[in-house]
Subunit: 337 residues, 2 copies
DNA sequence: GACGGCTATACATACGTATTCAAGTAGCTA
DNA sequence: TAGCTACTTGAATACGTATGTATAGCCGTC
C-alpha cells in the first residue's frame, strides 16, 4: 500500500502552521520562532518528510547539484582514468557536506556537452575532467562562459585559459621525483611521457625533471626521452624502445603510474629490473602499491584534489569568486627505487 | 550578458503554436501533425531550448534519474571498491542511452539512506552496491518496498531476499578457477576468503571451489582455508598464516583480486612464489593485469554487470516487471598460474 | 444537410516549493 | 493610551512543464 508522499502542506497541518512557515522553518530562516521551528521539525520527522527536489529547484532556479563530466577520446569501451575515478568518492562526500548532489556524465569530445547540463538546469555547475589541452576545447568553454555557466577543470591554469583550474604542482612533483633518484645515486635518468605541446601537465612534469637534472649539473639527454600516453602497453613499449636504443640508463621517471608499471614489466622481462634500473611514477593510483615492487611515485592527494574542485566550484556558484588552486604533491617512496 | 533561458512558451511563440503543443511535439506525442512538429523542432533548435528538468520532473512526478548508492562500512577515507568503481563508467553510458541521469551517493550503513533518494524524488530508482549480507539491511529494504520504491542490488538473490538482484555466477566462477588449477597439475589448493555466513558471494565461490575438488576426487581440507576480506593487507596476512601453518599447498584461489595480490606479495617475500605456488583471483579489477606476474582471475564483465543493473531497474520502473539476473563469468588466464 | 467520428490544437490546471508583501501581535516610549 | 518598532506568521503567487478536457475543423454517410 503505497500512500502519497507527504508535502509541506501535510507538515503544516500537523504542526498547526501555514505552508510558508514550514518552508522557512526547514530552510533555517531566522524569522521563525524557536518554538514553531521545533514543532515543524517534529512533524517533519514524524511523517518522514523530505523536500521535493524538483519543486524546490523549480522555484529557486537552482538545482543544488553539480555535474561531473568525464571527457573521453577513445571508444565507448575505454576504461576511465583511474586517478579520476579515485576522485569520485571524495567528491561525492564533499558535495554532500555542502548539501549538493553529484551527477555523473561521460561525453565524447565531439558532442554537444556544452549545452547539456548547465542548460537543462540539472546542475548549477560543472567539473571537467579530461587529459589534454584545453585550448582545443576553447570554443566550447567560451560558450559556457557566454551562458554564465560555472565550471572548474582539472589541469593547469594560467596564461589566458578560461574559467577556473585546479591542479597538482606538477613541476614540483617532477623535480622531487628526479631529485630522489639522483640522491639514490642514479645519473642517467630516462623520461617516459609525451612532453610536447597539447599535454601541459606532462610538460610541467618534464620541466621539473629538467630543473632537477640541471641542479645536479646534468644536461637532459633527448635520447633518454620517449613519448608515451598513460597506458600500460604504451609504457611497456616506451621502455622497450629505450632498451633498443642502446643508450645507457639507470632509472626511469614516468609521467604516469600506468606507464611506469608497463615500463617495469618490460624491464623485468628483459632481466633489467631492480636493482639495475629504478622506476618512479606519477599519480599514485590505487594499483601503484599493488605492483611489485610497489611503485615509488609522486602522490597527488585525491582527497585534496576532490575537495578543492568542489569547493572552488561551489564558491563560484554561491559568491561569484573565482580563483585557481595549485595543490602540493608529495613523494611516496616504495620499493621500485 | 546572460539572458534568461528560453521556455516552452518562447518556442510556442516562435513556432506560432501553443505551449502544450510544444510539449507534445517534443515528447513525441503522435497527435501532433508532422508539419507542426517540424516547426516546433526548428524553433527549439534555433533557441537552444532544452526541457527544464525540475519543472518536468515536478509535473510528471518522475525524475528520469537513477541513484547509485555505495555502501560504506569503514571510515570516510576508505577507498571505494575498485570493481564497483569500474561499473560507474558503463552505468553512466547505459543510463544515458535510456535517457536517464545517474546520481552518485555514498552512505554509511547506519544512516537513513533509505529515505534519502527515492523520497526526495531526486531519483526514480536506486542501485545498491555493497559487499555483505543484505539480511542485515532487511529492515531498510522493507521500508523501501513499503514506499513502493524501485531498487536493484548487486549480489546474490534468491531465498526470500527483497527486491531484485543482479550478480555474477559466483559458484561457476569458483568452479572454473579451481578446475583450471587442477588442470595445471595443482592438487593442494588453498582458499582465501571469508566463506562463512554474512558473505553469500564468497560462500558461493567456495561452493564452486569445493565442487571442483570433489569432481577431482579431492576432499576440501579446512586447514587450507583462511578468512580474508577483500583487502591487500588482509590477503597478505592470510597467505602468511597459511605458510605458518606448515600445511603443504601448491596453489591459492582467492575470493578477490585484491586479496590475491596481497597473497602473491607474501609468497614472493617468502621466496615461494611461482612456479612453486600458483595464484588465481576473482573480479578482474583493472590492477589485476598490472600485477606481476599478471593475475589469472575470474572476470566479471563490468559492462555486462552495469548494463544488467541499469536495465533491470529501468524495466522495473517503467513496466513494473522484476526479475533477478545472473551473469556468466569467464576465466582469464594470465601469468600467475 | 444533419450528425457522428476523427484529427489537431488550445485552454485550464496541477505538481510542491520559496518568496514577496501584507497583516497581526507584543513590547516599549512619550 | 496612542504610536512606533521588532518580531512572527499567513495569503497570494510564480517557477516551467505535462496532461485532461474542450473545441474547432473536416470528412463521410444516410
Amino acid at each position: 500500500m503505497t500512500q502519497r508522499r507527504p508535502t509541506s502542506f501535510d507538515i503544516a497541518a500537523l504542526a498547526g502552521v501555514s505552508q510558508p512557515t514550514v518552508s522557512r522553518a526547514l530552510s533555517g530562516n531566522p524569522s521563525v520562532s524557536d518554538e514553531t521551528r521545533k514543532r515543524v521539525l517534529e512533524a517533519a520527522e514524524q511523517l518522514h518528510y523530505t523536500v521535493d527536489k524538483n519543486a524546490s529547484g523549480l522555484r529557486r532556479q537552482r538545482a543544488k547539484t553539480l555535474a561531473l563530466l568525464f571527457f573521453e577520446e577513445g571508444p565507448e569501451t575505454a576504461v576511465l582514468n583511474p586517478f579520476y575515478l579515485s576522485l569520485v568518492g571524495p567528491m561525492v562526500r564533499r558535495c554532500a557536506a555542502h548539501g549538493y548532489d553529484l551527477l555523473i556524465s561521460i561525453q565524447q569530445l565531439s558532442s554537444d556537452w556544452h549545452v547539456d547540463y548547465e542548460d537543462s538546469r540539472k546542475a548549477d555547475g560543472i567539473i571537467l575532467l579530461g587529459y589534454g589541452d584545453y585550448l582545443e576545447y576553447r570554443p566550447k568553454l567560451e560558450q559556457l562562459v557566454d551562458r554564465g555557466a560555472h565550471f572548474v577543470r582539472w589541469g593547469t591554469g594560467g596564461d589566458g585559459q578560461l574559467g577556473m583550474a585546479v591542479s597538482s604542482d606538477n613541476e614540483r612533483g617532477g623535480f622531487e621525483a628526479t631529485t630522489h633518484l639522483l640522491q639514490r645515486g642514479r645519473r642517467q635518468i630516462a623520461f617516459i611521457g609525451t612532453a610536447g605541446a597539447g599535454f601541459p601537465e606532462v610538460q610541467e612534469r618534464w620541466r621539473g625533471y629538467s630543473r632537477a637534472l640541471h641542479a645536479a649539473g646534468i644536461e637532459p639527454d633527448s635520447r633518454l626521452q620517449v613519448d608515451s600516453s598513460p597506458d600500460e602497453a604504451d609504457g611497456r613499449a616506451a621502455a622497450e624502445k629505450l632498451l633498443a636504443r642502446g643508450v645507457e640508463f639507470d632509472a626511469i621517471f614516468a609521467a604516469s603510474d600506468v606507464a611506469a608499471i608497463g615500463a617495469m614489466h618490460a624491464l623485468q622481462q628483459a632481466g633489467r629490473g631492480l636493482p639495475e634500473i629504478a622506476v618512479v611514477g606519477f599519480d599514485d593510483i590505487p594499483a601503484a602499491c599493488l605492483a611489485s615492487p610497489p611503485l615509488t611515485t609522486v602522490t597527488q592527494d585525491a582527497h585534496a584534489a576532490a575537495e578543492a574542485l568542489v569547493d572552488a566550484l561551489i564558491e563560484a556558484i554561491e559568491t561569484g569568486k573565482t580563483a585557481d588552486r595549485i595543490l602540493p604533491v608529495r613523494l611516496t617512496v616504495r620499493g621500485s627505487s
